[in-house]
Symmetry: C2
């Protein structure tokens, strides 16, 4: 019976906190053990190596939103609907955990293979997704490359969290509530922009 014990949960929470804050290499096993209030030896007992622990935390992080996105893709809704829903899932997740973007981007950049692997395991088959988009009649008649549309949606959702400290301090004067409020506004604004983008492009090109 392989079930997740209380201790493991406590460790994962501590590890997540420390990894988010200090990054994979900046965090030591001792830091994490301290945060979890156990000895470092116990940490090794549960997760054997730092890399295994990191992988567990990373997978856990991705599992907060990747399965939802997988469902969106496989539900076969229209591209418009898909983008709108995607925006909501992403922004809601990031409001809960603003450090995710840097954490994920950092790992993606220093180890480009791990993430695609896990994403696949969590239910997103990139080939399937690409095929779906390629066969969407709506997309086929769009004068704008849908890849730009997807990039735009992701950019507009994720970047403001990736650059959180700068934006918070420079634009919102360190007022966290104002910052969060702005991020929530974006849940409406981004789909609106995407929509307008598609229409205008249709009009003018």
């Amino acid at each position: 019976m392989e079930s997740i014990t209380e201790a493991e949960i406590k460790i994962m929470e501590a590890a997540e906190k420390v990894f988010y804050q200090k990054g994979k290499n900046g965090a030591s096993m001792q830091d994490i053990a301290d945060e979890a209030q156990i000895t470092r030896t116990s940490l090794n007992y549960y997760f054997r190596t730092k890399d295994k622990l990191f992988e567990a935390v990373f997978r856990n992080t991705l599992s907060r939103f990747v399965p939802e996105i997988a469902r969106l893709i496989h539900n076969g809704r229209s591209f418009r609907d898909y983008l709108t829903q995607l925006v909501h899932v992403i922004i809601d997740t990031m409001i809960e955990n603003p450090q995710i973007p840097v954490f994920v981007l950092q790992e993606l950049s220093s180890n480009p293979d791990r993430m695609p692997q896990i994403v696949k395991e969590l239910g997103i088959d990139s080939d399937f997704a690409i095929d779906t988009f390629k066969n969407d009649e709506f997309l086929r008649q769009l004068p704008v490359d849908p890849r730009h549309l997807i990039m735009n949606a992701l950019s507009l959702c994720i970047f403001p969290f990736a650059a959180r400290s700068m934006i918070l301090n420079l634009m919102y004067d360190g007022n966290e509530d104002a910052y969060i409020r702005a991020m929530k506004e974006r849940k409406q604004m981004v789909p609106f922009m995407i929509e307008r983008m598609i229409n205008r492009m249709n009009d003018e090109t």
Copy 2:
């Protein structure tokens, strides 16, 4: 006579390469010494500590685009012009050095104080910039919060480089030329979108 020697340049180049690749904590002084083909002791001779070396590399990175942006702000052009130029500066810089976004965002997140400090030294006075925007008549009559506009412009420019490996592999099949071409397209597309954003918002709200 404090001038930059050839050795220092060689070291900075090596350090930049290694820091970009492995991050501040992932990179060791030995890694950098190897890359620069000198002994680690020489490295310490020139830069004394790892943190000083990192700071030098970080400042050097910022100096590639921050002064240009500072000039844009102080030239007192209209907000529209400013955003358009900003987009060009950023995308051009990132095409030259796609690893900058993750490098900077990582440091910004783990050490939020260093960057604002250096940015100021490189000529951007954030208070001045904010005042300028606050007094722009065009902005005052806009129905959309200009902070969102700035966030949007930055997001659309920077994120596609921050998530480079994912976008390259999933959307452009690993074809670097196609990826670069797409990024160049965005130099036109992003200002166009910002423009449309402003107009449509005016029309409909």
